[in-house]
């Protein structure tokens, strides 16, 4: 369930707010901003134009109606428009003196908006039947069903027989090859004696890695072994082998379509990001010893570099 985000014992900014040096710097910054604002206003030149279009007024009216369930009165509408004008002025002035710079939240929002916009622009077309056939041909492994095997096994229990388990399993193989009833051979166990067609992972989950590896290399037909597992030694007979197969196209169509679209979108997103990046030359001024490509960067330094990004 929920887990609260921890509070540092005393946060750096809370401590910082009590620091006289911070007070001094904040006051200085405020003076600088005020100075910039009023000096700009005093610079003269023609005043900037702000035009509130009829469409904008209609939109303000409509948002009011959605919230209040009635249209605004003339007075209310005038106040809405006035407030919008103030917002527009504040926005322009703030941008003009660079208040939008270096603001983490604004930067994140802009990046998100840009990425969403790029995604919308690069809306993916529906694939044609031929696209899907090509896609399947290019990625057969992804859609192949793994090999499955049906097998039987008789256990010589390691718990019960210790080092003699191998010899006992050999005895089982001899008896089974001579036609003994498989249900009557082997030690009692919760392990299944007959395993229907199962993937290698499925066999591994029950018998462990070594057994699964042996069972998926053994030829079908005769009882063979001993095959070792954490449970002891086994006599094993591979009953049938169903090779890996690619399901018919018709069974895969929906999944192919989804994967094709996802891959196209990925491609376009990467290409768009690269196109943008190609307009820039990026130079990173790594502090000493932190350059991941540099000669001195050890594991610890690389971890620190990650934390700085």
């Amino acid at each position: 369930m929920s887990e609260a985000v921890p509070t540092p014992r005393s946060s750096w900014w809370a401590r910082g707010l009590r620091d006289p040096l911070v007070h001094f710097l904040l006051a200085g910054a405020a003076l600088f901003i005020l100075h910039a604002l009023f000096n700009r206003a005093d610079l003269g030149g023609p005043p900037q134009q702000i035009t509130i279009s009829a469409g904008r007024v209609a939109q303000l009216q409509e948002s009011f109606r959605l919230i209040a369930n009635r249209p605004p009165s003339a007075q209310e509408l005038s106040a809405l428009v006035d407030d919008f004008v103030r917002e527009e002025i504040a926005y322009r002035e703030a941008v003009a003196i660079g208040l939008d710079q270096d603001d983490t939240i604004i930067r994140r929002r802009l990046r998100q908006k840009l990425e969403f916009t790029m995604e919308d622009i690069s809306a993916v077309d529906e694939p044609t039947e031929a696209d899907l056939v090509d896609w399947l041909a290019a990625h057969p492994d992804r859609y192949q069903r793994p090999e499955r095997r049906a097998l039987m096994q008789a256990l010589a229990s390691g718990d019960r027989r210790g080092a003699d388990a191998d010899a006992a399993a050999r005895g089982f193989i001899t008896a089974l090859a001579a036609g003994a009833d498989p249900l009557g051979v082997g030690d009692p166990s919760l392990l299944p004696r007959a395993i229907p067609l199962t993937t290698r992972d499925g066999v591994r989950a029950i018998f462990g890695d070594a057994f699964a590896a042996a069972a998926f290399e053994a030829p079908a037909g005769d009882w063979l072994g001993p095959v070792r597992s954490p449970f002891g030694a086994h006599a094993v007979r591979i009953v049938s082998v169903e090779p890996p197969e690619t399901p018919p196209f018709s069974d895969l169509r929906d999944q192919l379509r989804e994967d094709w679209i996802a891959a196209r979108r990925d491609e376009m997103r990467t290409a768009a990001a690269e196109r943008l990046r190609s307009r820039y030359q990026v130079k990173i001024d790594w502090p000493d010893g932190l350059d991941p490509a540099g000669p001195q960067a050890g594991a610890g330094a690389a971890a620190k570099a990650g934390a700085l990004q």
Binding site: V5, F116, P230, Q255
Partner: protein, 634 residues
């Protein structure tokens, strides 16, 4: 980025699913139909009437959970299902996670119903929720700022009141539709089972009364019933009864009773009134199972409740959830204690609201359960993604002598790589697995795939569970775990138990039967009997214990003794203290040989001493559901 389009697809899927549901409005849930389109049922293995053990996780959070999203988790329900099926997905901290042992057989995504899908909406430019004044603070880079803003959600949950700014339920509706559509997409009868589910997150004053609601089939309502509707779980049961009448069969599974400070299994109703028959019936009709083990500790029993149980102090959680407030009331907060209270009520009043079976699950908030000690990545996204953040290594430049982890890190350090649900079922399909859950033919493990069979009945002594004929006889003549033994008995019935190790974990050390019974004074008692010892050991009849098998672990490498322990342990047991007139329950606890705890693995990899405040090794275990002995007549 991909998420936005995917949500749109899911919405379309949800609408289609809703239309289909409306068309197929039957009183009983129809059998699950194949929806993936990628499999034909012709080649599936036949159902096994003697049942197979299937392993799954019924407690998984994704980005739709309000807290997971804050922990930087962006994994979707699709990611959760892909992970369960063995694929690699991204952890919130950027690294790859994958089940190294083996995929799961079934899974339910159970995001918090409260503020479901709301955090992603707040973080979506243009969404009305993104206009809340603290939206920027929630996603600030300063954790203290995030914490202050996020506290609103915890406060709202503790108070049980929905914040006014989130009364529009459409983000919750679409996230829920996405969850349902993902479950439908990944259900693959015969190979993998998915369940539609969610978490009901009631924490009155921080005391944990959470439940996971698991739906039987494709039929589920348009919105989940959340703790913002009512914090009283009995209102959830009433809602579930109503849903059942509409064809939406479901069960609820309480979890983290260890964090309830005694409230999960309290002996009164929510309002302090005594429990009555109607309330008890409604509870057990809707809550036949309890999650006994998960990442935030194991709730079987506490050393203070079971002073004679030397294995009781296992992965104990000492605090309220998400807080440094210590738990002080253990009665009512642990499973064995509740089973005992249940038979006391049964003997005194004739009903038992706590007649539940046991399961385990992860409660991962990463969309990916972390079950394996050597491969542990904990639970809450970026919060505990590194050994340092989960208290298994000190920060660079510190040693354990010079460093005390902060509160939250100390809490993460006590969390565990647990747990799994085992179900005995005929086949891996929704109807079969769900029926196994309903029957309580379930067991819990603390991570490894230990399997355990457990039967009781008269005249079973000669039955061998290691043969198909024996299993058939046990089902014919006895009752399996989760069942009631009502046969009139003069002497003890026979108890048959058989456990088998996980080939990828350690061998087994011992099998125990834990008995609770009501005395003539109406009070309950408990006793633990070792019934099978490894390495040819015998039970000492004076102590009911196996001798120590001498298994050891090398803390420097985590290698454990190769020659100790057994692959399988079994017993046919009679209760030496059986009294046919007294109510009793019996459940099995299987113990592995000791292995390294995840925190020791982290330390070994870092080449440092393990944190001295933590256990260096643990004994992984499995718990069966109980079998209840019900006296008949005089």
């Amino acid at each position: 980025m991909a998420g936005r389009k995917r949500v749109k697809w899911a919405l379309v899927g949800g609408v289609v699913a809703a239309a289909l549901l409306a068309a197929a409005c039957e009183p009983n849930p129809p059998a699950t139909t194949e929806t993936s389109g990628a499999a034909s049922t012709a080649e599936l293995p036949p159902p096994n009437p003697l049942k197979n053990a299937y392993f799954g996780d019924l407690h998984v959070h994704t980005r739709n959970s309000f807290d997971a999203y804050i922990f930087n988790v962006r994994a979707t329900p699709d990611d959760a299902y892909n992970y369960a099926r063995g694929q690699t997905i991204k952890h919130a901290a950027g690294f790859d996670v994958r089940l190294t042992d083996k995929p799961l057989d079934f899974l339910a995504v159970t995001d918090h119903a409260e503020y479901l899908g709301v955090l992603p909406a707040i973080n979506t430019p243009g969404h009305p929720f993104s206009q809340v004044p603290y939206a920027g603070e929630l996603f600030s880079t300063d954790l203290a700022v995030v914490n202050t803003a996020f506290r609103r959600f915890g406060d709202s949950l503790r108070a049980g009141k929905r914040m006014a700014e989130f009364e529009d339920m459409s983000p919750t509706r679409s996230a829920w539709a996405e969850i349902k559509a993902a479950a439908e997409r990944h259900n693959d009868p015969g190979r993998f089972t998915s369940f539609i589910g969610y978490e009901y997150t009631s924490p009155p004053e921080g005391r944990n009364l959470h439940r996971n609601v698991i739906f039987a089939g494709s039929n589920a309502p348009d919105l989940p019933f959340s703790a913002l509707e009512s914090q009283d779980p009995s209102d959830l049961w009433t809602w579930m009864d109503e849903q059942r009448a509409l064809g939406n069969e479901a069960l609820a599974i309480p979890h983290n009773s260890n964090g309830s400070d005694g409230r999960m299994f309290e002996r009164t109703k929510w309002n302090g009134q005594p429990i009555d028959q109607e309330w008890a019936d409604r509870r057990i009709r809707n809550e036949p199972l309890v999650e006994v083990t998960q990442v935030k500790g194991t709730s079987e029993t506490h050393p203070l409740l079971s002073p004679n149980d030397e294995f009781a102090g296992f992965e104990i959680m000492e605090w309220y959830i998400g807080s440094a407030t210590p738990i002080t009331k253990f009665e009512g907060g642990y499973v064995r204690d509740a089973l005992r209270a249940g038979i006391e009520m049964q003997a005194r009043d004739g009903y038992n609201p706590f007649k539940f079976g046991l399961i385990g699950s992860s409660d991962t908030h990463n969309a990916a359960g972390s079950f394996e000690e050597p491969n542990y990545f904990s639970k809450v996204g970026i919060m505990d993604a590194t050994p340092e953040r989960r208290g298994s290594t000190p920060p660079e430049g510190n040693t354990w002598e010079t460093y005390t982890p902060p509160d939250n890190v100390a809490r993460y350090s006590t969390w565990g790589a647990s747990g799994l649900t085992g179900v005995w079922a005929e086949e891996n399909t929704r109807p079969s697995i769900y029926a196994g859950l309903r029957r309580k033919e379930t067991f819990a493990t603390t991570g490894p795939r230990i399997k355990v069979r457990f039967f009781a009945g008269p005249d079973l002594a000669s039955v061998n569970l290691g043969e198909d004929a024996g299993l058939r006889a046990a089902y014919d003549k006895g009752v399996p775990m989760g069942g009631d033994l009502v046969a009139p008995a003069a002497a003890s019935p026979d108890f048959l138990v058989w456990a088998i190790r996980d080939p990828d974990s350690a061998p087994l050390q011992r099998v125990q039967i834990i008995k609770g019974w009501t005395g003539a004074d109406g009070k309950s008692n408990e006793r633990i009997y070792d019934v099978a010892c490894s390495d040819g050991g015998a039970v000492n009849p004076a102590t009911n214990r196996c001798a120590d098998n001498g298994a050891t672990v090398d803390i420097a490498t985590c290698a454990f003794s190769a020659d100790k322990g057994d692959a399988e342990l079994s017993a046919s047991w009679k209760d030496p203290d059986f009294d046919p007139k007294l109510h009793a329950f019996y459940y099995v606890r299987v113990l592995e040989n000791p292995t390294c705890r995840w925190s020791t693995w982290d330390a070994v990899r870092a080449g440092i001493e393990p944190n001295p405040a933590l256990e260096k090794t643990i004994q992984e275990r499995a718990y069966s559901s109980p079998i209840w002995y019900v006296p008949t007549g005089g």
